[in-house]
Symmetry: C2
Subunit: 307 residues, 2 copies
């Protein structure tokens, strides 16, 4: 039986987009519920200055809690070497570093051009190598499929930066459709181009659902051998219906698609849907997305995979 792994990014990518700050205890309860549903990789926070993202100022405490959950790979984002240092000190198993391929987006997002971010990644790898825990450093090549400022993003730039961060010591790469502009043909083509230089170190994709193509793009990536997918419970992280929104792929729908196809995700979909309750209690103003939770399970699910 085929398998995929899912990295739940709601507690980081989702909560950083929400104005309200979820109290630490509620974050931990939500993360515990996601873990209880079978998720085995969760991006629980971000090591950025608290004044920039007060919603994630408790990331150290959340990491400490998440580390107590059996078999969970605890990931956190770090935008620079200083953040990586803090992440390592906190005891994360994986540090995710964003590198925007679009220069304009990179400058807007981290006030550095892509080359300077490659240097931060190199410095982060030095710190990783000096750490006894030796966490995985994954680089997410963001805006890889298009940029809201620049429009099309040159695919050769994606390949060049993939090579640069691997040379700088990154363990893993993922292709991130930060703006939701990817389409299945492009996912196929770019996955092949990056795999040609990165091999098995290209592990995953981070897809958004801005144009409703999140699942179709996931399917295209799966067909190219990608087996690791980021997604967010209830699509937290941007409303897909608002102009300029960049909503994440909904974990519930991603799990539903793969399980219905007979691809194991390790996730108990009923428990995953139950975990939405904790999210809506903690953030009652936030819309929760997802088709499966709204439509309910089809009769005798999963049945199609058994035909």
């Amino acid at each position: 039986m085929e398998r995929i792994s899912i990295s739940e990014v709601g507690p980081r990518d989702g909560l950083q987009s929400v104005k309200a700050t979820m109290p630490t205890a509620q974050k931990c309860a939500w993360i515990a519920a996601l873990h209880a549903a079978g998720l085995r990789e969760i991006e629980v926070g971000s090591f950025v200055p608290a004044k920039l993202l007060p919603q994630l100022a408790d990331t150290e405490a959340v990491v400490a809690f998440a580390r107590t959950l059996s078999g969970l790979l605890v990931a956190a984002l770090a935008p620079n070497a200083r953040g990586t240092e803090r992440a390592i000190a906190a005891g994360v198993h994986k540090v995710t570093m964003p590198l925007s391929v679009s220069r304009s987006h990179s400058l807007a997002n981290v006030r550095k051009p892509p080359e300077a971010m490659v240097e931060e990644i190199r410095q982060s790898c030095v710190r990783r190598d000096a750490a006894s825990s030796r966490p995985v450093i994954e680089v997410g090549l963001s805006t890889a499929f298009g940029c809201t400022i620049e429009g099309a993003v040159d695919e050769s730039a994606v390949v060049r930066l993939a090579e640069a961060v691997l040379a700088a010591g990154a363990d893993e790469l993922s292709l991130a459709d930060t703006t939701g502009m990817a389409n299945p043909t492009q996912v196929k083509r770019l996955t092949r181009k990056v795999r040609a230089v990165a091999g098995e170190r290209l592990t995953g994709v981070h897809l958004h659902n801005t144009y409703g193509l999140g699942l179709a793009n996931a399917l295209a990536a799966f067909a190219e051998g990608i087996r690791a997918f980021d997604s967010s419970q209830a699509g937290l992280g941007g409303c897909p219906y608002a102009p300029g929104a960049t909503g994440n792929v909904v974990t519930e729908d991603l799990v539903y698609m793969f399980e219905s196809m007979g691809v194991a995700t390790g996730v108990d979909l009923a428990k995953l849907v139950e975990a939405r309750r904790l999210l809506s209690e903690a953030l009652p103003q936030e819309p929760l997305y997802g088709y499966l939770p709204a439509a309910g399970f089809p009769k005798n699910f999963p049945m199609a995979a058994r035909s």
Copy 2:
């Protein structure tokens, strides 16, 4: 350049699900706007008794108008031979006949088992052959991917009924995911099985978005050589967020996906989005779905296909 054709089913499949009746003049204006956007096949109504579907009681008049639109293939649904007779008299170019593979669904929907519907199709083909206009008769194998009453639907039953309706004289077949229960693996498998007996007479798929898999399923069908897709403007025909709903794939998003992939649809997406205004003016209570219309065009669209 690859091409697909789209059959817009909003004026039939959409309007039959809406309580309000759209006045004939507004229907015609909407159909004209869809045609002006480049759609070249529209299912404009249904030849069922007016007391069953008062919303479509004006189908004769709508067909007469639609026939004045240059290059438009005018389709209408007929559930039996009597309906086909009326459709032929009205001058349609294509008669779409539904045949539910699930016995329970067939009995609930047309009060006939599938075998009796095959006989209606046979009688319809006799009437077609006697008509000087000789319209195309397309059979939609509904509930082909699952049934809300029975759960899983036996794929060998789909194949058997496909053979039966071709033997009865049907020109074309399509596979209809009436309940939205299809998944991409199943679409691939069933398309292959039916093509093995139907060859090129398996032309299209009719997909719903109940579980958010409409576009992923369309992608899977495209990969198997399917080039004709039904869809509905704004997803009219059932709210995908309501329990038990069976919302159609949104034409705007289907066009967006294929055009972004570099597959020609013949549709001007900006004009198609404009046509939503006529729909919302005529049916102000109906929610209009679609990601592209909500998010707006990405910068420099289409650009990905040009990389």
